[in-house]
Symmetry: C2
Subunit: 273 residues, 2 copies
Amino acid sequence: MIPVAVEDPADPRLAPYAAMRERDLVGRAGRFIVEGEVTLRLLASARSRFRAESVLLAPERWPGLAADLAGIDAPVYLAGKAAMSAVTGFPIHRGVLAVGLRGPEPGAEALVPPPPAPALVLGLAGLTNHDNVGGCLRNAAAFGADAVLLDAATCDPLYRKAIRVSAGAALITPFARLAPDTDWPALAARLGLELLALSPAGAETLDALDPPRRALLLLGTEGPGLAPGLMARVRTLRIPMAPGFDSLNVATAGAIALHRLARRAGPVHAEAC
Amino acid sequence: MIPVAVEDPADPRLAPYAAMRERDLVGRAGRFIVEGEVTLRLLASARSRFRAESVLLAPERWPGLAADLAGIDAPVYLAGKAAMSAVTGFPIHRGVLAVGLRGPEPGAEALVPPPPAPALVLGLAGLTNHDNVGGCLRNAAAFGADAVLLDAATCDPLYRKAIRVSAGAALITPFARLAPDTDWPALAARLGLELLALSPAGAETLDALDPPRRALLLLGTEGPGLAPGLMARVRTLRIPMAPGFDSLNVATAGAIALHRLARRAGPVHAEAC
């Protein structure tokens, strides 16, 4: 891989990096942006579910990344930070960007191991905050979840900030978008998973749960939470909290539950450090 | 409490709200900024450790907050969002601000219940990210920690963004700043607490721990973690994670450990929803 210097911010090869913030909002037609060394290394690794279309580095970042990028099938462009900032439309401090390709999106059935294998799946319903979605992906990766399923209202794990908050987990943890009318209990039954919904109003405590071998853990938004009609139809769990401040971030609450469920479901965990 | 309309952005009564972002960086000499309804309600409540100096609201926000502010001993100013934005220097969307007074800072000894009472204390070492400090305060409140102790390098829980991320917990959970040369093991011994440090390289797993009745849980930065010299002198715990992605956010890892420790130490927990 020999990098190519690109001096002109108007060079068409840099067009996918243009007006970055504005295009975060409108989408990129099958592309997404990765920024920073940790996430670029994951994108370039064999563990990534996605392929890089191109990489854009400040020249001084190339020596430290050359070995990681040796095997990728995509051009590496070098441009000074001033040129990078001119293209993207805001200051690029770290000088490490890439464009990834979404490729075809798998369905939930393709991602969840069939019975009788153990399975741990995270479901996100109505999570419209990119930090929370990124945090949930990170926690799913840390506790070896097989897949993350997203309802139609949940925001995109490949949004630039969500990837960053996920520490790159959005690139390696399988996720699938559900059809707008998907019924969670019916989906769980079809996949052979026990549906568990985490809620401050849950009927059982998490600690009293005997973790099922195949679980779908469902998280809703912090404010309204899961719809009452759905809550009435699923097994609900709560995390006991201090009186007067029963408020955990949704990704944090999910991490506590994934930690508990991962004891039995999901892949074997590394015990070494 | 009768609110006072203030029309002129240059009115000296609004001076503590001026150039808000710039002054976030340099400090406010005993004052701090609260923004948003949830945190203002906490500041105005009997649970707050801090007193409001003044409140600044968009006029349309007053009716919804009048009852909450009935008892505070501070003026409430009303100004349109355009005037508020002119004072603060950036767009104020929610129209809810207040200035709080830090007051005298207690020492760690004053915050930790003496033996033989149960105690759960969170220690933060070198946490320089405001989101993480805010998240740690929120989790400490949720799991009923008695106090949070901050080393000299950890950033301020009363920084504007840290308060917001803490969901207001920074206003109600007692915290104390330690002297720059504080030795954690010596401090824990003096307070009669068992020191437990969370680390990916911990010697024991969290799940195997028999939670001590009086615990000081120490969290370090995500990157470098706790200093090796310190790690060698304390009992270290790890959270088992999936192979190849042993990366949890420090506040999230702390929440998992607080959830475990809160079973025995700390106050009784609300089980109702």
